[in-house]
Symmetry: C2
Subunit: 417 residues, 2 copies
Amino acid sequence: MKIKLISIGKELLLGETIDTNSVFISQQLSLYGIEVNKKIVLDDNYEAIKQAMNYEFVDADTLIITGGLGPTDDDVTKEAVCDFFESKLVLCDDVLQSISSYFQRRGKKMVSSNLKQAYFPEDCTIMHNPNGTAPGFIIEKDNRTAIVLPGPPHEMKPMFFSYVEPYITKRIGKKVFTTNINTYGISESELEYRLRPLVKQNEKLSLATYADFGEIRVRLSICDDKNDDVNELLSRYTIKARQFIGDKFVYGVDCDNMQSALVKLLIEKNMKIATAESCTGGLLSKCITDVSGASQVFECGICSYSNRIKEKILGVSPETLQKYGAVSEQSAREMSQGVLKLSDADIAVSVTGLAGPGGGTEEKPVGLVFIGVATRKKTIVKQCNFNMLNNKSRESIRRHSQLESMKILIDVINEQK
Amino acid sequence: MKIKLISIGKELLLGETIDTNSVFISQQLSLYGIEVNKKIVLDDNYEAIKQAMNYEFVDADTLIITGGLGPTDDDVTKEAVCDFFESKLVLCDDVLQSISSYFQRRGKKMVSSNLKQAYFPEDCTIMHNPNGTAPGFIIEKDNRTAIVLPGPPHEMKPMFFSYVEPYITKRIGKKVFTTNINTYGISESELEYRLRPLVKQNEKLSLATYADFGEIRVRLSICDDKNDDVNELLSRYTIKARQFIGDKFVYGVDCDNMQSALVKLLIEKNMKIATAESCTGGLLSKCITDVSGASQVFECGICSYSNRIKEKILGVSPETLQKYGAVSEQSAREMSQGVLKLSDADIAVSVTGLAGPGGGTEEKPVGLVFIGVATRKKTIVKQCNFNMLNNKSRESIRRHSQLESMKILIDVINEQK
């Protein structure tokens, strides 16, 4: 399949909206080994759309087009595509019915402009839209296919999974199986280097990495015409891949992110957590409570920006603060122990450091961060020098402090019996 | 100017990287009243780039091309553009010098592959790059202009401001003056409706709105060939626009976001703040401490997820919790008063509510949030029903709770003498 993507909408050209649809579609297609070879963004313009289809179909067999399926006069994608395929728009009763019931469910009445959305080219396959009023469609003629989807991502994505994925599976005669390994603390190039032998040995296995700050998701996928045993094969590859990467860099499999992995683990172990934050100022507790179900495991969080609060609430001794300073191994230790005691949690974490941009000295530069983790049995403190990062911004130092803290927590919890 | 944008890079086609460059450039150009009429993403492919330039120049006079200027053999943008303009690449001594000193400053040695980056088409204008090794260039011939910039945003953006903006200003003979009004709590369509008369009365004035959750930034701009008095004119429009919008929806002018406005205001008034959070779980304190300089005003933050912590640390009375529950006007009141007392701050905020997805009842549905703000003089509590939002996700409810809290804080601080 030679695929190009066309995104339609003035808001994309004006920079008011970021085109995330094409990013999503590219990622999904890459699972099938299909590389998109061009992307285009156009205005809602009948002639421009037709002209682009003429030009782009010269060296492509499939165009995936998103946007411009709304009820207003501006929305002309369907009309232009229909015209290109020399087809005729006809009223589809079942679509009319489903648009009308979409409004009914919301206690609203369908207006006449929505009638337009029930017209479709003859001989196309309609993709129904449970999340909006604009259905999509697939139209094929003379070895040319146009897959047309609505612009809003929350309408487009479910439609992609329900219709486009099965269509591709059928057309290329293969199905895709994937697993994601979540890593932290290892570079993209190092990951690729370590996994190269595995990919070389197993030609069916494909690999892609997606970096987001320090977290890197390694996607293993197999695209195969057989269904049997592929999942088992993928499980075996996953185990091997973890060994090749090294367990200390892997924090989970098929997790959304580090905080989800942490909360899941805490629930499994029936443990409660508390946080004491200085330079991260609530970022840790915010991330933990981003996860739904966090209330089962999160006891309390203290953001102690001033020394007075570190003493008064967390019980850090004035001597420690005076002798070693707030940014020190000793303060991190007492902060984690303090909040553990205060909260009656099973495990506690503390972060104290210099996120900058001001406040650094030669002895304690911006980027110096201490992370403490305390349980009933022991307390450990790790010194991090985030001044070594390429990006030494306040945001970057705080994000890395959060990720590093969560990775240490996960390791400590896993060590416990 | 008829402008199209071409972004080059396989990572953009594979969906590994989001093309934010074209979003930035579109927004900047819109200031000059220039609407981009097409965007294209291509692979690093010599022939594909040349072919696209041939085709796209038919109905455009300017192409802004980003990416593919690196030192590797894959990077062919400069070569393809040079070929298209039938120019010749020549070694530029001053560029060679600046690349070499770029490495020296970093204690590294320039390698032979970087030599390629010092070659440029004859008769082009070189755009120097203080943030990387790939300079850009502008080349013009037969009323066609290509503006070629490196892909990494932190290299592209400063180059855009240093070279591309002055180039456009010169070419269209106009300069742009802008002010941003930061609003919250009003819809985009309502904003446009209220500001329409102002724009109608003043034809030089342009208006654009950028929405991010509940915050909407209104950008006022004047593109003029005169420099005199334009800033003064813009100031007058800004005052009028604020009146048209209504002061209760405006939280600042030219602010990055609500937390920056809040921290700036607290610094101005020499006030200290403390937070007591339940359903937002640290989001408020995280946002406040995102702002550099927050340590001057942020005293402490308590995330009290459990009732026990609400009693023990914040001093909420067991009777209140039992009689009214943790999600109640009374609890919000006592939480804000509790953290004010504990922290010795000048103003305190509390948030307690149901962020979901679980935990809602008929009486107290997901989305019900109470926000308390306490000062030495008074305490106010606002009940919010975020279950009325279109997007009722946990993230959305938490984000709206944060924004609403900060807006109330700003209003209360401004009311004080």
